[in-house]
Symmetry: C2
Subunit: 116 residues, 2 copies
Amino acid sequence: METWLTQPDLDDLDVGTVLQALADPTRLRIVRLLGQVEESTCTALDLPVKVSTVSHHVNILRQSGVVSTRLDGTARPSRLRRADLERRFPGLLDSILHATPPRAADQPATSDVSGA
Amino acid sequence: METWLTQPDLDDLDVGTVLQALADPTRLRIVRLLGQVEESTCTALDLPVKVSTVSHHVNILRQSGVVSTRLDGTARPSRLRRADLERRFPGLLDSILHATPPRAADQPATSDVSGA
DNA sequence: CGATAGTTACGACGACCATCGTAATAGATT
DNA sequence: AATCTATTACGATGGTCGTCGTAACTATCG
């Protein structure tokens, strides 16, 4: 029998909460990494922050409904809730995972005006 | 000839920046409202914050590429960049606009464990 | 030209939160 | 049981940002 950390039910997921979870750069990186490896622990994720911080972010991701965490001995591997998110917010996760990086160019100031 | 406030080019849109823009509750409300009325000014949006704050949020939405703003006399009506966002991040905006509210129920604490 | 109304610019303040260091917990191994 | 390793819990701190009040700006109207 597998044991999991408690997570919000499918119908309780809030799009605003999910967006807040995905808004942080570090958490977005975590989501992208989990999109490639299917399952990973906090220490296995290669991130420029301390493990305690990674654990904090994974908690937020789980509480918002983005990932689910399994108990495997001393390890707590997490994975994306792909199917759940797809049912609740169709297209949201895929649009983020498939997003291409922006064209690396300096953008003009947006406070000015331009004729069209 | 219509005049518009400058906005980031399509290829310069960054999904992280867009997610940060959409993460704020007030900005998410603005996006939802613009999803219904097709075009609106800051004062026309019915929001529980001061107009100067609404203007601030609309600026962030425009700088992130979510909305575009037109100059019409003294008014500056903004609208969603639906087509652009759909081309850059297919499915992202629609998944947010079509998201249903969560089932209003108290969720259990997520720090505990549950057998499966 | 003067007045009015809508919008934005500018500081300033306060709250939230990402990050860290350390300590505590729990399972695995010998 | 003792030790080791992985993970989390706990404060604490510093920076970011949402919000506001006011002033400046711009276009329309009389």
